[in-house]
Amino acid sequence: EAEVAQSPRYKITEKSQAVAFWCDPISGHATLYWYRQILGQGPELLVQFQDESVVDDSQLPKDRFSAERLKGVDSTLKIQPAELGDSAMYLCASSPDIGVGYTFGSGTRLTVV
């Protein structure tokens, strides 16, 4: 069964350091999403790509977060500098097209110390 691949699974970093997460969506899925899930809350959309273009990044803290999907396939989410409040699960999801057939990856659990 096709999966959304994410790495690393776990990351511990010191505050003010840079950290990056990688996501490889299911082959052929045009739409890719990054969500952040703080402990005890539901996931919140950070950024949505359609192919290589950003569709929605209204909730992305652009002073420290950046995301790219240069070739419209895999994607990287970066935080620089990391803050204590960034500790969360970062989930990547993909779908064949906007609004249908979401599949989530296993997530990256980030701890900022």
Partner: protein, 109 residues
């Protein structure tokens, strides 16, 4: 502002009990409502609902949507300890998912 609200936030039951989880929403451009189960990792898909009044079932789980009153329920009958998880409700609009805060279910032996 679009929002999805789940209740209760947490629930403790014993094996064999039946539980009902609630999800209400206020979302523009509604497309569908989805239920997910999350056990310490990524959410796994349970149901997608698009039409009012049509129950979806999978084993002991069932769900229904009321688009007039803007809510959905997820029922779990004859609960088992393996049902212990966070249950997330999400509404899809113009492509993104808007999640509720989740209901944490604990099923005791």
């Amino acid at each position: 502002e679009d929002k999805v609200v789940q209740s209760p936030l947490s629930l403790v039951v014993h094996e064999g009990d039946t539980v009902t989880l609630n999800c209400s929403y206020e979302v523009t451009n509604f497309r569908s409502l989805l239920w997910y189960k999350q056990e310490k990792k990524a959410p796994t898909f349970l149901f997608m609902l698009t039409s009012s009044g049509i129950e979806k079932k999978s084993g002991r789980l069932s769900s229904i949507l009321d688009k007039k009153e803007l809510f959905s329920i997820l029922n779990i009958t004859a609960t088992q300890t393996g049902d212990s998880a966070i249950y997330l409700c999400a509404v899809s609009n113009t492509g993104k998912l808007i999640f509720g805060q989740g209901t944490t279910l604990q099923v005791k032996p």
